[in-house]
Amino acid sequence: MTAVDEIKIGGMGANRRRVEDDRFIRGRGNYVDDIVLPGMLHMEILRSPLAHARITSIDASKAWEIPGVRLVLTGEMMASRNLAWMPTLSYDTQAVLATDKVRFQGQEVAAVVADDPYIAKDACEAIVVEYEPLPPIVNPTQALAEGAPVIRDDKENQHDNVTFDWEVGDRDGTDRAFAEADVVSKISMHYPRSHPSPIECCGSIADFDRSTSKLTVYMTSQAPHIIRAAVALVAELPEHMIRIVSPDLGGGFGNKVPVYPGYVISILASILLEQPVKWIEDKTGNLISTGFGRDVYLEGELALRQDGRILGVRMHTVSDHGAFFSDAQPSKFKIGLMHSAFACYDIPAAHLTARGVYTNKAPGGVAYRCSFRVTEAMYFQERMVQAAADDLGMDQAEFRRVNLVRDDDFPHRTPFGFLTDSGQYGKCLDIGLAAIDYEGFLKAKEEAKAKGRLLGIGISTMTEPLGAGNSREYDILGIKMFDSAELRVHMTGKAILRTGAKTQGQGHETTWAQIVAHELGIPAEDITVEEGDTDTAPFGMGTYASRSTPVAGAAVAMVSRKIKAKARKLAAHLLEVSEEDVEWELGRFYVRSAPDQGVTIQECAMAAYSNMPDGMEPGLENNAYYDPPNLTWPFACYIVTVEVDPGTGVWDVLDVVAVDDCGVRINPMIVEGQIMGGLTEAYAMASMQFITFDAEGNCIGSNYMDYLLPTAWETPGFQLHEVVTPCPHHPIGAKGIGECATVGGPAAFVNAVMDALKGTGVRNIDMPLLPDRVYGAIQTGQDVSGAPPVKTGS
């Protein structure tokens, strides 16, 4: 008998077709809005039309009169139960229903529970709210101006609109580097507010059962255990009487991590009415009020030597958090992992100062398909690098090559103090340049220019930290960011695996089984994978920031190894030899001196129930809680070519090349799917996707007519390449991948357009590079800012 073939059993490296597809392609998914409970009622939320206003009165009497209405909740009613405000994941507070003021357009003001959502909506319309408008703040400059109205006048010691000030790095060393520089390259920009906007909106079904005193909440949550902890805190219910179930999720991208007022209101409503209450927001509610991403301003400087070496980095960021600071991010890092910028370059000195402000906009932001501000970090990095190369008159690829960390320079301390463990950044760049035919394109560009056509090429190289994170440095609200896996092997060698992660399309039901198959030789199809029910899943901090493979995936490997260790003892017992004489090949233990004497893993499993050695506890199951020793560091090179129509400012993508290293790939097909999805988000943000505000604080981008997502028609095709540098500290050598292209991609698109515009004098156009912005830049030679406009005059 020989070892099973790993690919045949769906082990690592297999392009295993997905288990979850079987129900999705039949329309048998189980999303929150698909769930029906007996006696279920429906909730709708009334939202503020104004960005900043005092509430002078709320009259809900007409709403109560509508047949089918069961409950109308206002801030006052919530306040009498101490639920008008709730804590956020960033140690701030957030209004559940407004009491004194509304602080952003779309803020929750009242809620109606009725027999069906149509009636609930009718009733919302019948609620009369009187507002006294206050001056809205839409822009950090306004927020920080002398005499600006204090948005958070609900907070006792808040006298301005600053949420935090933070700094990291070496101020003195960086100042010295700048003093010695031959050239200082400066650039300012705004990474606009964007929204993760999964197609499925947020929602919950809260079901409080008086007979058991148990609260069950079906909910769109990427982190059900965090929600359970938050609900225990906010609703003051005992943790063991709260069950959060996240069923199938129609995408997350970070939008489904925070605790939203709708969830809390639906829970209270269910407790009051003792019936299940379903709240499913509409797309407007989702875009106007839930966790957005980005909205950070940068002033960046690079200290340069004439030969192209970067001597120092200086960054000052101002981040716009809206009305409530509700970022879900590690508590020690106020601006997330912004200081992972420049990790792929060998730069001796760096300093970052960061300031967060309140404005009259939706609260947040979340890690939108990124590892806590890493998208901003890498975008700023590659835009600064592009500007610096131009300032020195150097070729973009060459400038990067001069500064990239060399393959043999690991472990490497990054400019802001992270420790990277491995990388082949130069190789990544080489593959990308060859794939796009860099030299050929530069020639074509020149020839085209002579004919009045504008072609451009943009490069983005980066490494980023994924897999938050080690308990020394990472926690959310004090809870450490480990993750978990629990594996039970049944007597016939089939198994069930549960983890603390929560897939939203990443394919965990398929890939986690591949890790177990790799470790234990049990065919992947013999392993059921479950996530998302806090009653059964081991505790985990959920899936976002591309942390699942690095953390939960590691836990899956570790628990498999614990199982294997026990199985080895069972094998020795079955083979009647000592453990030292037992060898392993995939799926089978055998006697070293007599290899055809062996037992399969399935036979070991049976023995765990029917033939244990003396003194051994029966059964074959275990769990593992994994505290990652470090972050993982995938890296990439993205190259984009474009043509810009100078007559209209419209630009078309010619080619996209992506070279990604995410370490060992569990399921290459799924990895590539993640990269393509990420590249599409990068393209979207670079070209059309953003939320902005007019001077009155009206949200522009609160529905899909204004918040533009590219269709199959605009979205370019992608050419993918791989480099594999196993992560040295991860049990299976894997790193995260879900966000890499979203993080590194936007700069490649923008750099390409800016390259096409070289010679016009334009240094920066804020994303999205809409046709009118590009055209305006070409005409005037001036930079284009995308920051929301400030009302002038009174």
């Binding site: 149509y118 909506k121 007559g647 209209t648 269709t711």
Partner: protein, 291 residues
């Protein structure tokens, strides 16, 4: 997402339909494709008392080239029918050019050209094309049928000169006298977006000379702009570089765009200019090739 309540009738003959509209006294609305009306109902931007669904009325789904060369488009002719039509490519290239650019492929299976005209959105693409082609609408009401020139059809944003009892039963594109040529360019940021600016150009030539021209603009004013001065400047001679430039200048002048998140007024005016030039150049080049 959830409309407020309204009444609903689905008559099977047109006189009943007209009678219902007449009774409604302005609070009844016609439902055909519904691709503009239903979204408005869902957002509660519209709350009529009664919807009169005309999808069951016979004889309204035609797309017909008459013997005299005119084209009649029935109220229930869907955008997709126009997109698929080979006869349109041959007979009215301007219309063929716009059909694929209306909304998205799914909306096009249901939405109608006539409905689009009646909705009178300043960003409606068809209105520009029908204007450039000097078309008209046939309306039927309690007093029978009448013809309304497209230029008299829209009275403001989302307002037409239809009487409350009238149904627009077809749109008519007059038969070209010369050889028809034309096109439509629309600046949209992605499929399904409303136009930042759109330009419809239609010309008829006899020999080398332009005998008739129409230029109309989408999304650069409170309603479709009939750039008649620009169009008139083209007639009476061949298309020349200077003539094209002049027409583009006049068209840009005729535009009355607002600055908004799609772009500044100046930018939109510039797009009008650029698109007029590009469309006319394309026509001129095609003529040269054919000659």
């Amino acid at each position: 997402m959830y409309p407020s309540r309204f009444g609903y009738e689905a008559p099977t003959d047109i006189d009943t339909a007209i009678g219902l509209l007449a009774e409604g006294q302005g609070e009844a609305k016609v439902l055909a494709g519904g691709q503009s009306l239903v979204p408005m109902l869902k957002l509660r931007f519209a709350s009529p008392d009664l919807l009169v669904d005309i999808n069951g009325l016979p004889g309204l789904d035609h797309l017909r080239v008459e013997d005299d060369g005119s084209i009649r488009i029935g109220a229930l002719c869907r955008h997709a029918d126009l997109e698929r039509s080979e006869v349109l490519v041959a007979k009215q290239p301007t219309m063929a050019a716009v059909a694929p650019l209306v909304a998205d492929p799914l909306v096009r299976t249901r939405g109608t050209l006539v409905g689009s005209l009646c909705h009178a959105d300043p960003q409606g693409d068809w209105a520009s094309v029908v204007t450039a082609l000097d078309g008209h609408v046939v309306a039927q009401g309690v007093d029978g049928r009448r013809t309304i020139s497209i230029k008299d059809f829209v009275s403001g944003p989302f307002q037409t000169t239809l009487r409350p009892d009238e149904i627009a039963v077809e749109a008519v594109i007059p038969a070209p006298v010369g050889a028809p040529a034309g096109g439509y360019l629309k600046l949209e940021r992605r499929v399904g977006d409303f136009a930042t600016a759109g330009v419809a150009v239609a010309v008829e030539t006899t020999g080398a000379n332009v005998t008739k021209a129409g230029i109309a603009l989408t999304g650069v004013g409170g309603s479709t702009i009939d750039a008649s001065a620009a169009a008139e400047s083209l007639t009476g001679g061949p298309l020349t570089a200077a003539g094209i430039e002049r027409a583009a200048d006049l068209a840009a002048e005729a535009a009355r765009p607002f600055s908004d998140h799609r772009g500044s007024a100046e930018y939109k005016r510039h797009i009008v200019h650029t698109f007029v030039v590009r469309l006319l150049r394309r026509i001129a080049e095609a003529e040269e090739k054919a000659a």
